[in-house]
C-alpha cells in the first residue's frame, strides 16, 4: 500500500508510547523502538487526524533548513517501513 497525500497515519493497534521526553519509546507487541529525534517528531505527528500532507508541512516548518523534497521522501519511507512492521496504519 502506498502512502498518499490524504492518508492519515496513526499508531497501529497494540502500539503505544511509553516513557517521557528524550526517553520516549514506542512499544509494540514484539519489542520497542527508541527513535532518534526526527523520527520521533514524525511519529508524534501521526495522530490519525493529520493527513500526510499536513505532517510534511509541519516538518518543513520545523526543519526549514532541509530540502522539502527530501523531507517528504524520508518521512514517506519511514512511515512505509513502520507500516510493513504493523507499527503504523493509514
Amino acid at each position: 500500500m502506498e502512502l498518499e497525500s490524504s492518508s492519515q497515519p496513526r499508531l497501529a493497534a497494540g502500539c503505544r508510547w511509553a516513557g517521557e521526553g528524550e526517553n520516549r519509546t514506542i512499544v509494540f507487541p514484539e519489542g520497542a523502538l527508541r527513535l532518534e529525534q526526527t523520527a520521533r517528531v514524525v511519529l508524534e505527528l501521526c495522530d490519525g487526524k493529520r493527513t500526510f500532507d499536513e505532517i510534511v508541512r509541519e516538518l518543513e516548518r520545523a526543519y526549514d533548513k532541509s530540502d522539502p523534497a527530501t523531507i517528504r521522501r524520508d518521512a514517506a519511507r519511514f512511515l512505509e517501513r513502520l507500516w510493513q512492521k504493523k507499527v503504523v496504519e493509514f
Partner: protein
Amino acid sequence: MQDLPLALIAEITHRCPLHCVYCSNPLAMASAHAELSTEEWQGVFEQAAKLGVLHLHLTGGEPLAREDAAQLVSFAHACGLYTNLITSGIGLSERRWHDLVASGLDHIQLSFQDSRETSANWIAGTRAHALKLSIAAMIRQSKVAFTVNMVVHRQNIERLDEMIALAESLQPQRLEIAHVQYYGWAWKNKQALLPTREQVAESLDKISAAQKRLMGIIRIDSVVPDYYARFPKACMGGWGRRELLVDPSGKALPCHAATVIPRLEFENVRQRSLEWIWLHSDSFQRFRGEDWMPMPCRDCDRRKLDFGGCRCQAFMITGDAAATDPVCSLAPAHGLIEQELLHANRGRTADHSSQKSEHAPLWVYRAQPG
C-alpha cells in the same frame, strides 16, 4: 554498567485446562498452593516497572486459570507496563474479556494447535478448538491488539497453508508461526515432534509466500526449529541481559527452562528484590557476558548475536550447561544433533491416524501441577 531488564515474563500459574504435548512448562510444576498471591504479584510488577521493564508477558500454564487475571493486568497497566496476555483462550468468557479490556490490556496472543478440530484437540489433549474460534471473534471486536499463535511440528506442519488460512479468517494483526522448541514436555516428546528436513523447507517457502501476500495486513513472524539452523537462536536475548521470568511460586529465572540446570540456585521474589536478583544473584550472573564462554564461541564473531545459544539446550543435550549450544554447526557436540536429524529424516513422516490405533502411545500429555 549492567543493563537493566526490559521484559518480565510472569508465569502466574502452572495450572492449565489443556495438556499440550509440546508444552514448555517444566516437568516438575509449581502447585496451586505455592503460587504468589495477588499482592505479591503486584509487588513484583511495581518493582519491574521501576527497574525500567517495558513489557509484561502474562503467561502460565493458562493465566486465566487465576481469577485475579484482570486485576493483575489493571495494576500492571497503572504501573505503566505494556501488558500482553498469552493464553489458550480457555476460561475467557465475555464478561472476563470485558474486564480485561477495561483493565487496559494492550495485547493478547491466542494459541491454536491445528487448523482441524480433531487434530487440534488430539494435540491439546482436550476439546478446545471450537471454543477458541468463537473467542477469536470476540477479541476481534475490541481494540486490543491480537496475535494468533500457531504451534507447528511434525504432526501438523503439512497443514501449514490451512493453518495460515484459518489465521487469516480470524483477522489478527499478527500471526506467529512457532516451531516447537524442545523444552519441558516437548523435550519428552521430541521424536514425535521434530519435523523432517523436507517439511521444514516446505514450511519456510509457505511462510515467505504468505508474508508477501499479507504484507501490511497481517504481520507474520516465524520461529524456525533451531535443530535445522546453522547457528543457534539468541535464547532470551542473552542470559540475564534483557528478560527475566518469574515462575508461579516466585522463583526468578533467567530462562523458561533454567531449572533443568543442576547446581544452579534460584532466588525467590518473596525473599529478595527483583533488582538484587537481577544484579547480584549467582543464577543471573552465571552465564552473563562472555567470561563463561568456551571455544569456539570465545573467538567467534557471532558471539554478540547469539551469545553462544541456549544454556538449557546445551545442558540437556551435552550434559554441560557451559558448552556451546550443540545446534550450532561449529559446536564440538554438533554430531549429537546430526544424529537426531538422521533419525528424524529416516523413513516416512509419521501419520497420526495410523499411530493412534497402535498400542504404544505416540507421546505423553502434559500433566497437571500437584
